[in-house]
Symmetry: C2
């Protein structure tokens, strides 16, 4: 029965259907911001829709902390769930694949096929593991320009991302102003707060202190820091939800009918988080998790502009759409307002909206009606602006 | 020089000076809410000030999650810091020991001298460890009544606590209405939210999954779950501070002068949290930490009153003072308002105030001028009400 369900999902008119990941190979040295040079690298990516003749209708989707290239559609008929942003990408959806050619990649340092800690280091013949160099948001953006070159995309109609994905879109606007028509920054911030960094540090410590971490060489030991990853994910997950949203979803509901007053898991929220944490630890590489959280912590594009965000954004040529959610306390409405204020001061074309939602930071992944309506309208306007001469 | 500093602290006019902990021994069975009966128990406690002839000027101070009996003064001249609430308890301080006889104990299940997981189980001859039964806030309150009986205190002038300590004061008002004149509930809630429980669960999982936990029998193995306790404390600590407070204290300050783009600790907030976590793991027992967080999770006095807090509080006879802090997001102002609203609906004598503070939940431990002024005024009024005929 589940198979039938998936078949019908696959064949729905608003699904991009079956997709096949592709690989971009960069066979030349690539110098990272940290000083290390990769001799070559690969990026795994997917595309949905068709590039028009002027190559003007491309949209780059940048993923967040634990995301990857598989944003929409299905890899095979038996796949249990579609890509992570399937509700937003497809025919008739906010990022409409009848209008746009969507590119979604796994970032450098990832663990879903792009060159990262799990890849073979050509210099040693064994996996990079903990020796994979630190990658920054700027590095990601530069690597994405190479992918764009390879795909024949000189200028994206839009670069879109939520959370860490929005930070990449912001960095594009600063570093490569003529290569995007619009940046859509969703549930992000211009830099992390001390509290954000603190949560990331606790997650990292959980991984680093796991007895199975072995200084990052867990694969050589035939093991995995499952517990550290589980704790990191549980913590992350709590910060992605809101207090209100958790109250609605779980309240103080008990796992069984009544209080047992024992040491076992008692409340449903505990059971849920445990499950989330355990399944994540089977799917995600610990060294990549460390790398991704470091990239988040270090993101601070104003730093090289005298800590002046207005100055940092002053070279941008694209238009901006900044979206935030009322109960997001990880990257709150206030943090988006800082970006909007800086863009206004820098005299940029900026639209912004605050979406009412009970779902905290996770809201950016959810099909909240008003969110999707305004995003659809904005994307429709972009499509009008770039002109469609497919 | 530090010695001289401490000497002068000790001899300051507003210090209670040197204090000697005492032990109350209950040599009869004590049935816990979970169904287990302790054959006997001990509570370690301290007192400051003098009990008047009518025994009407006693104040009970209840401690929070990681607190203990040593609330004020010094145990010895060489002690580096005074008790945990020394800024609030002493001659001329908000809880003025010239007016009140202050009792502060380590709760049952604690790890600072009262009967708990580190104590010898008389039935087995070895430490309880993980077999120490679950203790609830109601159990604590009942054990505290026995200590009060032993001290000749029929009715406390006030029972005061912050956080989990405030929950004990609330439970006293419900379970033993004629044994307190006033309850002072600071930075607390009538029950934990799903988010609160989730943070506690992550802390517990960090301890339970530590390779050195050994199902709670770490002492028999000659080891300690230092890492789990460290992570639990780091996480707790972040939730005790506010985003604003952390921004002011740490911002994005780097540990060294510039970004090293490495995997080491880079931001000062990381360094601070690591230190806090590591020192805590040397001082606190893991089984006690599990027990205390469970007591927090289970606290829900309205549960046996048809989930109606108004009904639960309707039998209370004491007056109430409810204090909360603007940036406390662990037990927010809203949670205190719920208590105040229920007290008003139950037609109780209630005063309340919201204190502006950048320091989050930790505010209740800090000498914030307006906080201490109103607490002093309230305590002065109580002193007037009980009459002083020492």
């Amino acid at each position: 029965m589940h198979g039938c369900q998936r078949m019908s999902d696959l064949s729905r008119a608003d699904s991009v259907g079956l997709v096949i990941p592709e690989v971009y190979r960069h066979e030349a040295p690539f110098a990272l911001q940290c000083g290390v040079t990769l001799e070559s690298f690969e990026l795994v990516y997917e595309t949905y829709g068709e590039l028009n003749d002027q190559a003007s209708n491309a949209v780059l989707v940048c993923h967040a902390l634990s995301g990857h290239h598989h944003a929409a559609g299905f890899h095979e008929v038996s796949e249990s769930r579609p890509g992570w942003w399937d509700n937003c990408i497809g025919p008739g959806k906010p990022i409409d694949t009848r209008q746009f050619y969507v590119v979604s990649l796994n970032n450098l340092g990832g663990c879903h096929g792009s060159t990262g800690p799990c890849s073979i280091n050509p210099r040693t013949g064994s996996a990079f593991g903990p020796d994979f160099p630190l990658v920054t948001v700027s590095d990601w953006v530069r690597s994405q320009t190479l992918l764009a070159d390879d795909l024949g995309i000189r200028q994206f109609a839009a670069i879109i991302g939520g959370s860490l994905g929005g930070m990449q879109a912001m960095q594009w606007a600063i570093d490569f102003p003529d290569r995007l028509h619009a940046a859509v920054l969703i549930a992000c911030a211009s830099k992390l707060s001390a509290q954000n960094i603190a949560f990331n540090e606790i997650a990292r410590q959980a991984i680093l202190t796991d007895a199975e971490f072995h200084d990052g060489k867990y694969r050589e030991q035939g093991t995995n820091p499952d517990i550290g990853l589980m704790l990191a994910r549980m913590l992350g997950h709590v910060t992605y939800l809101s207090d209100d949203g958790m109250r609605q979803k779980f309240g103080r509901q008990l796992k069984s009918g009544d209080l047992s007053l024992g040491q076992d898991v008692e409340f449903q929220v505990e059971s849920y988080l445990n499950h989330q944490g355990r399944s994540f630890s089977k799917q995600f590489d610990a060294n990549t998790y460390l790398l991704m959280t470091r990239a988040l912590d270090y993101f601070d594009p104003a730093r090289v502009y005298q800590d002046d965000l207005v100055l940092a954004l002053s070279n941008a040529l694209c238009k901006f759409f900044v979206i935030s959610f009322t109960t997001d306390w990880r990257f709150s409405v206030e943090r988006s307002k800082e970006i909007v204020d800086a863009l206004v001061k820098a005299r940029k074309d900026v639209a912004s909206t605050v979406i009412e939602s009970d779902h905290g930071h996770d809201s950016f992944l959810l099909p909240i009606p008003r969110y999707f309506e305004v995003l659809s309208a904005y994307m429709g306007q972009l499509h009008h602006e770039i002109g469609d001469a497919r």
